[in-house]
């Protein structure tokens, strides 16, 4: 609906003030909560460290592009990095973490959509499709992520992880 600027409802500033006061009260209460728990603004792990090996018919695949991406639902933030497999077909990604004052104070459902793709000789392979539901280090599978990806493998589930790779 179109509304000209001079007909904006006068109640809006008061309502906004009330909302701001409400938000302030919740944050104050949450701050108190956090203070009593003795924890500072916690680091939130978006993607734990990953290491893996790419094979094709049992042989290491060198020079394949490996792309990693995460989408953090709480902040609608996307992050990407990429690497290449070495002569032994191996690749490595470091842990990615973020922090958010609001996110550590306000209860919400943690969701980090994680994707790893392998690109080789014009083809794209789904290596890792997973939604991380906590902010813990190694919170994906409860141990460091170490994967072996056979390019000839079918897509399959390992727990809730989906892709062509097998987890150690």
């Amino acid at each position: 609906m179109h509304r000209s600027p001079n007909t904006a409802p006068v109640a809006r500033p008061r309502r906004m003030r009330r909302l701001a006061v409400g938000l302030g009260l919740v944050l104050a209460a949450a701050g108190l909560l956090l203070a009593t728990q003795g924890s500072a603004m916690a680091k939130m792990v978006m993607f734990s460290a990953v290491s893996g090996k790419v094979l094709h018919n049992g042989k290491p695949v060198a020079g394949a592009a490996v792309e990693r991406e995460f989408f953090w639902a709480w902040k609608s933030e996307t992050g990407r990095d990429s690497t290449q497999t070495d002569a032994g077909g191996e690749f490595r990604f470091a842990l990615v973490e973020r922090s958010s004052l609001m996110g550590s104070l306000l209860p919400h459902e943690p969701i980090v959509r994680q994707t790893i793709l392998i690109k080789h000789e014009g083809k794209t392979y789904k290596a890792w499709m997973y939604d991380k539901r906590n902010y813990r280090p190694d919170g994906e599978i409860g141990r460091p992520i170490v994967m072996t990806c056979k390019l000839e493998s079918e897509l399959h589930h390992t727990g809730d992880v989906y892709g062509i790779c097998d987890l150690q």
Partner: protein
Amino acid sequence: MPQLTPTEAAKVASSVYLLLNGSVTESRERGIRFGTEGKFALYDNSQFRGETGALAWKRLSNFGYIAWGEGAYTNEVLVVTRGTKINNDWLTNLSIGLRPGPAGWPVHMGFLGTWNSFSADLAKFLAGRNPNHIHCVGHSLGGALAALTADWVTTNRMAEASLYTFGAPRCGDAVFAGTLTQRVGAANVHRVYHPADVVPMIPMLPFFHAPLVGAGLRLPTGSGALFSTAAHAMEDSYFRGVGSLSWADLANAQRPGDIGTGVEAWLEAGAQGSSGMLMGSTQLLSMIGRALTWLVRRSAWVMGSALGSGVTAGLTLMDQLAWLLAQASKVKQEVATHVKALMSAILRFLGRKVVGTADVTQAFVHWLLATLVTTLSAIARRALSRFG
């Protein structure tokens, strides 16, 4: 009556978040399993979008799905709503005010605003269908939305309903919670909460949970000594906490103290003229709050089917509380005794003279509750002005 198991309900309440802003098809291409496979037919057009936030911060996003049963679930419908996932949702959680809900009773304004933004999609899906049973499931804000869906389904006699909530906030006033419990049936309301999760404790009075009588199902894991934001997480806290337990297992794991026995003993002692209640005592005020909540639940149960017919939505909340306590006191002597004990405790807290054995009248209860609220507001203002 068909019921989902705790594991089934927790799985769908958790997996609905994974739709993010994509489609069911896109989610399946990522290998996501919703827990509906072979039970409820979930397609792209099963999804509905809802609006959260307030004023200029309103935002539309995926809010859940409605799906038709198959196999053993034929003629049943599943409605799943999600909770707080993104920043904007917190503005909905904060829009605390009351508006008449689907059945006409007062509910949280922010939750109702979100529910109204997708209720037409639910009506469109159900038009021309005749399900036997509708399962309403949700976590957090999604649990409040599930309660509103169950309220709407049963008020309009579309089907029998079951309500399954995890870590849900309080959604409406005592009459809303009481009439919803009656229409759905207390045995079909499964409210699961974690003792360290703060969300089920908000908003405070005058909001109540369904089922109105009973404390809900406390997860037998974790401690309630300290609140923790992590305790609220659906997948990491509730889904794991429920594990493979049955509803009976969860019910059996409840502690006797959870259903208000301490409050009842305190009121009994008060009714017999127990002293030790000090004016302005925070401990006394805390007991008054707990006793008022317990007595309102008890009164709603005593009033039974008269609850929805004897009070109108046009009354203020204070009117409704006073009506409920006074009417229930007339119906049951035991309630009258407890209400008198509570009134005496409030008078002592306020430092006023305790009245003798007069009958509990609506006008007196109203006056006393209003005096208590006014006094507390004045104390709060004084306290705040010190820091101003």
